[in-house]
């Protein structure tokens, strides 16, 4: 029971690591290029979730200061800043790799890694 309790307590960390691993598995093993890009996105959100969980404080409030009010305990705002940067970065990588996917489809007529590899091998054989 103790294990389950500690998992429940640290559920965000556990979830973040699980998402990271699922994403990694998708990137490494899938043949379809679009699936791989999706995998990178999942990996990215996993890491970013980990960052937020670090900044979270039990019973904290969002770090927004309202003039005139008595400030309570704020959660750490620094990780949010990291995550905002991280989200933008992951999106830009996604855009770039999707544009490559479109180009690959134009060139080879498929977005399946294995078929592409076979086509390249065949071309080399004919050279």
């Amino acid at each position: 029971m103790k294990i389950i309790e500690s998992i429940m307590e640290n559920i965000n960390y556990v979830g973040a690591i699980a998402l990271f691993l699922i994403g990694l598995h998708t990137v490494v093993t899938h043949r379809n290029l679009i699936k791989r890009v999706l995998g990178v996105n999942i990996m990215g959100t996993g890491v970013l979730l980990f960052f937020t969980s670090i900044g979270n404080v039990a019973g904290g409030e969002p770090p927004i200061f309202i003039p005139g009010s008595v400030p309570g305990i704020f959660v750490n705002p620094l990780p949010s800043v990291f995550i905002l940067t991280g989200i933008v970065v992951v999106v830009s990588i996604t855009v770039y790799s999707l544009s490559l996917v479109v180009r690959i489809h134009e060139a080879y007529g498929t977005i399946d890694q294995q078929e592409i590899t076979e086509m390249i091998k065949e071309e080399e054989y004919h050279d």
Partner: protein, 79 residues
């Protein structure tokens, strides 16, 4: 907060696995969009409203549109 948090995490993991397993790329992208939306709810729970806003706009919005656009120009079903 505890139990809601756990439910969201389980939902996220199920979504992620579903994205990896689905053969239909369009459904995978729709599931991914739901995943992003749930992620933004989780960030709201973790008291980072600014991140939640960005994730809802960027992750669930722009990324999905991009994926759908690319799928419409390439192929919908995975082999």
């Amino acid at each position: 907060m505890g139990i809601v948090n756990v439910i969201i995490i389980v939902f996220l993991i199920v979504c992620a696995i579903a994205v990896a397993r689905t053969r239909d790329l369009l459904s995978a992208v729709i599931i991914f969009s739901a995943y992003s939306l749930m992620m933004s709810v989780l960030w709201l729970l973790l008291k980072s409203p600014d991140v939640a806003l960005t994730e809802a706009a960027v992750g669930a919005g722009i990324t999905t549109i991009l994926f759908v656009a690319v799928i419409s120009r390439t192929r919908r079903y995975e082999k």
